[in-house]
Every structure is written in C-alpha cells, then in structure tokens.
Symmetry: C2
Subunit: 494 residues, 2 copies
C-alpha cells in the first residue's frame, strides 16, 4: 500500500510542481520518539504533504490527475550538461543529473535529510559520484522517488563511470552482522557480548560514515592548533615517544544501538542496529590532555576555548571529512581518560577502527571518537560538521522531520544507562521443561558511571530477580584508576 | 484490621517467645520498590513472621493462645535497675526499661530498623532518653508494640525525667509544611519552587536528623585530619580570611523528595515528603579542596585516601553525631564546587541550615552536605555513620526489611533526574472552560548535569508539549563557571 501511495504521490508531485506547490516526493520513516537519525543520509522519507500555505490533500491530487499527461511529455525532453550546469541555484532552479536522467530537485532542497547544503554540492552537475559514496541511496525505492523529479534525459546519457570509492575496503570477519555494506556498518553477534569482557578486534562493531581511507602510518601526522596555541604536527613516532603511553579499557557504543526495538513500536529512520553496536577494548595511546598541553593549552590558559574539534581522513568527493567535537573540560580532565589511541587490544588500530590513530573518548557516544584522526582544533565553537550539528541529537516526541529545529537540541555527548539481554535472543524459543534457564546480558552507562545493579523480570514486572554482575573495576573511588566503567555482563537464572 | 492483627500478633509473640521462637512484634510499612529509608528510625514494622527454621503461622499462633495466661502473670513481676543492668547482652538477654516498665527485647535486636548496635546502646538501661531524642518512637502504635515485649515493672517506676533535647529549637516560618516536629523536617510549599529562582532561607526545606545544636561561632572550629596530613583546626575567621571566598548557586534535594508518590502505589517507610524537599540557594564559603590542600592533601598526595568524611555537631545522648562522606575525587575537583559554606543567600547560615558552617556538595544528595560541621577526616573508608551505611541506599524491588543486605548497595551520592509539577497541585480542580491552563513545575539533575528539555503530556503520553524552560547557566561548556546546574522551573500551557 505504501508503494502505491508513493507512485500516486510521485505523479501528483510532478503535477503539483507545475502549480508551484512544494511537496515531498520521497518516502521516509519518521520517528515520533527519541533520536532523529540521518546517519546514512537516507533519502527514505515519508513526509506529510506540505503546501505553500495550503494543505495538499488526496482530493486535490486526484483533481491534478489530468496533469499527468503533461508530465509524460516533459520526461522525453533532452538536456545537455551545459543546460544542467545553468541550473545551479534555487533562483535558477536546481537541476542534477543521474546516469541518463535530468532532475529538477529545487522543491526537495530543504527536505533533503543530509541538508540543503549537501545537496547543493551537486547542483548543476551529476549526483552519481555522491551516490557512489553514500551508497544507501542505491535502492529501488530511492530511485523510484528520484524519478518523481525527472524532467528529461541527459544528452549523451551518463557522462562517465565514476571510480568506486569503496574499492579498497578492508576484509571483514564473516561473523559480523552487516547492516550496511557501503559505507560499512556491522555489529557484533550479541551472544559474544555477554561472554567475554573484551571484544576481539575482528568482532568489534564497525560504524563507518564514509569509505575507509588508506593511510601510510609513516607519513601520517596529526595537526594540533587553536587560538593562543602553537600549531604543531605530530607523527605516530612523536605520539609514541613524546608522550607517556596511557592505557584505558572502555566501552564504545553507537548512538543507534538497539534501534531495531524502536521499529517494533513505530518505524524509524537509520541503520537497524540490534544490540551489538557496542564493544569493550583496551586502548592505548597518548593522553589528549598531554598533547594539548604540548601545544600550549591547559586548564589555566583556556582563553575562549570551549570545544576540542576532531577531523578525520575519511571524506567524500567534495572533500567534506567526518568531524566531531567534545567539550574542552572533558578533553582536559585526566579523570576522563580521553586518548589518541594507537593500540587496540594490544595490536595496532585496525583499518576499520581508525588506523593508525583514533580518538577514544570514554563515556561519550561513539560518534565523537573520531577515527583516522587528521586534525585537532581547539575552538570556541563546536564542530560545524553535519554529524555534530544535524545528527546525533535527541528531540521531543512532538518533533518530526517536518518541524525539526536542529539548533534547539545539544549534540549527544555522554550517554545514559543501557542494558540488553543477549541470551536467549529476541524471538528464540526456550524449552519450558528446563528447570533453569540462564539468561545473559550486558549493562553499561556513559559519563563515567558504573552499573550498580541489574534487575530482571520474566513476568512483566510482577517480580524481579537481581542478576549476578561480572566484577568490574570501579573507578569512582579509586584515584589510581586504570579503566573506565565498562560494559558489564550479567547472568541470572529463571 | 492492621491493629487487630498486631494485637493478636503481640499476644502470639509473647507466647511464642516462651518457645524460643523469634518473631517480630512491630508494625512497619515496607517498600517493594526503590529506597529503603530509615531516616527517622521509625519502629513501625510489619514483618513477615520469622521462625528459627520454621514458619510461624496464624494457626500456630492460635494454638499458642493458652500461653497468654502465663504472659499476664509475668507482666506483674517487678525488677530493680540492677536487675535490668544485669541483662545487657544477647547471651544474658537484653533488657531495657521505659518509664515504669521492663522489657526483654532480645528477639527484637536484629529487627530494629536502627540496627542492633543502636539498640544495644540502651541495653541494661533506660531507653527513655533515646526516645526523647528520636521522638518518632513516641506514637501510640509504637508504644503498643513495645508493650508486646514487657516482662514486668521497674521498682520505683520511671527513674528520672529526662531533659527535652528539643528545648532550644529555632523558630520556623509558618509557611513551611511540617512533616515531623522532632526532629524537625519541613518542606517548601511547591508553588514557590516554580516561581523564584532562589529559595529564600526562611522557606528553604529543613531536614534535620537530631536536635539543632546551639553553636557559638566565636569558639567554633572545624578540625581537619587524615593519614599523611597535618592536623589543623580552623575557626570561622580562619575560613573567611585564609581561603578565597567561593560562591556557588546550587540546588540541594532530600533523597526522599516526592516519597508521597510511592505511597500512592504502595506504602513505604519514611517521611512523607511531597515535592517540596528541594531548594536552590547561593552559598558562599571556602573551597573544600583549598582547605584540604592547606592540610596537605592534594590529588598528587592522596596515598590511600578515598573518601572525605564529615561529622556534625548534631548528636544524640550517646554522643553519636550525624556523619556522611563523599568520594575524595569529588571533594578535590574544582569543577565540582564543594565548599564549606558560611553564607546562604548572602546571610549567615541559619540555625536550621547548619550555622555557622556546613558542607555544600552540589549535585550530590542532600544527606552528604553535613550541617553544623565539626570534623573533616580524609580516610580510606567511607563514613561508618549509620546514615552512610544503613540509610540512603537503593535496592531492588525484591528487597524488603526482612532480607535487606545493607552492604550490597552503595551509598547514594549523585542523584538522577527529577521533575515535578507544582501548579496546579495534586488533587486540585481546574476550570475546563478556561482556554488555557498554565502549568508550572521544576526539573533538576544531580551529578553536574543540566536539564536539556522538559516534555509534558496531558493525555497519558498520546501527545507531548515541550515546556518553556527558565534559562540557567550551563556550566558544561564554560570553564569559568559560576554556578552548578540548578533546579529549573518550567511553564507550559495546555
């Protein structure tokens, strides 16, 4: 039914555009609750009909049916690359080409989940290389919706074949559960998470936003700068020799971990993570606070600095790299153990996890622990990156894609408490004749908070059993902490 | 029905005691959920029947009825003070006197909410002075239950009249809503909390555990000591002159705030606070970290120290004073603004609020901000005080008074998020014909966390409105913070 609606919708949209009425032609899965995620800039949108001051209803759509004939005529029109290039602004209309088609996406600009600015990068040109980068666009549904904006064909057809930005991806372990191939996103099978304290590198969840950059560790450098600081460039050898190696065992978690549970209530947008987008590893590297001090930034010399921004080597064809920031006091606090890691579980950082150096910011959502680190900037403002400003934010249930004000909510930093049952798994049947069923799970909290207790119920909250928690180093009362609060596994028997 | 049960229970208990079967004879209101509170060491217990290895049932009780006749004979026996004094241990039985009666409380020791140790303070002697101190014992129900343990009369009757430890309590504002007179506990009318940013001293909630000590500020001193430190004594003048004055506006909250809402679900023990056991004030005083440094304790010289213990001048007749502790890293962190306050909203600390000096530990539950400060001890262990070890702790719903293991849970420190509606008040009727109803409330979180947003629903969660939050200084991104996250008031219209 949805697709039928969409096909009718596309026809209506094309027709309606003639009337200068803005509307949406892309399907999306909107979320009434919690986090609006654009993590893959999916173009899957179900939008409420929006009119320029008036409601566009089904009735109005049906009345517009006669316009469909006019639409068919338009779609056989042909345009040259130069024609497309002339339409590179909202004033002149925004046209793009894809393969052999030409599309007028002016009305869609503000509704693009990745933001109008990102879509404007392709204005007057081909979106092919961008779709090659953000391969989540390459679905039948998204293609069908794009076709709703088609106005004609490109003279000469598709202009060039674009190189595959994902041609050099590293090999991955077959046990990882893939949620998206390009960019690569895969989670750990949950049954591993309640068994081992440390997650092996090969099985650690992978969350990439872009292709994995190929980095030569010998020539790699990270630059550090900020107002009132001296600008420095540090090689891997510098990090290893100039700064005391600090080891921290901590848990990283994707903000979208367990999103599939939302879908059981109401469809939401974003990668459909189960409970495996979380892992614990022993990271080692140079303390960020030591590196910042080396460049002249300490608690006593902050000036106007309020944030430490990070930029990675992973970027798209426009040169936009992944970026994020954390509050400066987090970065400088020795208790918070933020490091520039060059080791993961005793080995060099694997390619998928940020080789050769990544940020590890314990207790903060994974998105801020930038991989393939390239630049550190001490700044008055947060990172201006799309992923800091228009992603990884939480809103009221009354907010949806059509009324979201990204600036009204802060970027997610420290995460709250999390707990998931790993064994038995969702949907699994257990033998009721067994006298005991062992249930396993994990619990974790961000912000440096340890887990005190896990209670479990098998009768909708009538009675509760306290699970056995695996011991973990409680750093809150230890000044010589060696580890941040980690994901703790728990067991209990029913 | 309850009292009938209790009377029968008392008879049964007396009878059962002849059989050497331990049982409870005090009524209590047990809580299935959340915090077990003994804050007033109430002797109101409803205990499940406990037998030494066997269940004591109603049927067994009825069978024991013939023993009641034997009980009546015992209650006319007379004992001297010396007789009572000989029974001062479980091996010899534990006897106490109260007014003109003598009671064998051996079987009750382990069930005493204040702990066996505290009851043992009166072993072999009179409990009169303790009941004068902990006046919550002085109810008809508790007296009736005590009588269940009566074994005879005291020769000469009540030995002496004890002075009223509450003879010198300060005057209190009539608007405070009193929850207990002795010790004094009273809350702010909630409608004030959503209107003014700062709570006036006279209307600030009062939570006392003992009588208010009378302190001469000229001779008052606080002692500071710990292993590896030099022991110092500081007068009020020392605090004001030797250490930079630090001002912090913060919110203090009683751990039991809003307990009355539990009672709506299931009866719980403890002061029946509504939503007014919370307040915000501007406190000023010496930083605790500065005072500790003066005595030789810094982050670099911690040694074995893990906690900073506080002891107050408020004490009971046995000399047991109120005490609490916080983790040393909290005490030393300049970001956490822990101070020894001598000013509250620009005035000297009022008597009810800890005159002349109290601890103010922002973001931590109010119980740790010790009033009428006397001693600071840097120590490897937490405070051994009853209020740290066997109070202010949170347990699983499967824990009750008969199976609580106090050592299994940590002392409450940083509190989680809190939010309450102040206007309209619980049970108030509003005029449905009004076009708009303005709703007011407050929101607060411990642990240095600011409030991001408040959503309100008037239709059981079908739809949500985001409330207007009063602005507050967000310290998380400001290095030159002047205030801790405070209780924020919010408004929204329905």
């Amino acid at each position: 039914m949805l697709l039928s609606f969409l096909r009718l919708g596309m026809g209506l949209c094309t027709a309606a555009r003639q009337r200068g009425v803005a509307c949406a032609a892309f399907a999306c899965l909107s979320s009434r609750s919690g986090i609006l995620k654009q993590e893959d800039e999916s173009l899957m949108l179900i939008h409420k009909w929006k009119g320029a001051g008036s409601a566009l209803t089904f009735a109005a759509g049906i009345l517009a049916l006669p316009l469909l004939a006019q639409c068919e005529q338009e779609e056989s029109a042909t345009y040259s690359q130069e024609d497309v290039a002339e339409h590179d602004s909202p004033e002149k209309e925004v046209w793009v080409s894809y393969e052999g088609g030409v599309y007028n996406v002016t009305d869609f600009l503000e509704m693009h989940p990745g933001g109008a600015q990102r879509l404007m990068m392709a204005a007057g040109g081909a979106i092919d290389p961008f779709w090659a980068m953000y391969a989540q666009h390459k679905t039948a549904e998204v293609r069908e919706l794009l076709e709703g904006y088609r106005i004609g064909n490109l003279v000469g057809g598709a202009q060039q074949t674009y190189g595959d930005p994902y041609a050099n991806e590293p090999k991955r372990h077959g046990a990882l559960i893939v949620r998206s191939q390009q960019p690569f996103n895969a989670e750990t099978p949950v049954e591993f998470l309640s068994q081992a304290k440390l997650t092996p590198n090969d099985l650690f969840y992978v969350r990439n936003h872009l292709p994995v950059p190929k980095v030569d560790s010998e020539s790699w450098k990270v630059s550090v700068k900020g107002e009132g600081m001296r600008q420095v460039e540090l090689s891997l050898e510098d990090l290893e020799s100039k700064f005391k190696k600090h080891t921290v065992t901590c848990t990283l978690q994707c903000t979208g971990n367990r999103r599939d549970m939302f879908n059981g209530v109401k469809s939401v947008q974003g990668l459909e993570w189960s409970a495996g987008a979380i892992g614990t590893a022993e990271f080692a590297g140079a303390r960020l606070s030591d590196v910042l001090a080396y460049a002249g930034l300490t608690e006593d010399s902050l000036g106007e600095v309020e944030h430490i921004q990070f930029e990675g080597l992973d970027s798209d064809i426009s040169g936009t790299c992944y970026g994020a920031s954390i509050p400066v006091m987090k970065a400088l606090s020795r208790q918070d153990d933020v490091i520039l890691a060059y080791e993961m579980n005793g080995q060099e950082i694997p390619p998928d996890h940020g080789y050769p150096v990544r940020v590890v910011a314990p207790g903060i959502t994974g998105a801020r622990s930038v991989k393939w680190l390239a630049r550190i900037i001490a700044h008055r403002e947060e990172s201006g990156s799309h992923w800091q400003q228009k992603d990884y934010k939480s809103f009221s249930p009354n907010v949806d894609w059509d009324n979201v004000d990204w600036g009204s909510a802060p970027a997610v930093q420290e995460t709250n408490v999390q707990s998931a049952i790993c064994v038995p798994q969702q949907g699994q049947t257990v033998d009721a004749s067994d006298e005991e069923i062992e249930v396993q799970g994990y619990a974790y909290s961000g912000g440096g908070q340890g887990i005190i207790r896990v209670d479990v119920t098998a009768d909708d909250g009538e009675t509760w059993i306290t699970a056995d928690l695996s011991p973990v180093h409680d750093r809150r009362n230890r000044q010589q902490f060696k580890a941040q609060p980690q994901m703790q596994s728990y067991r209990f028997c029913l």
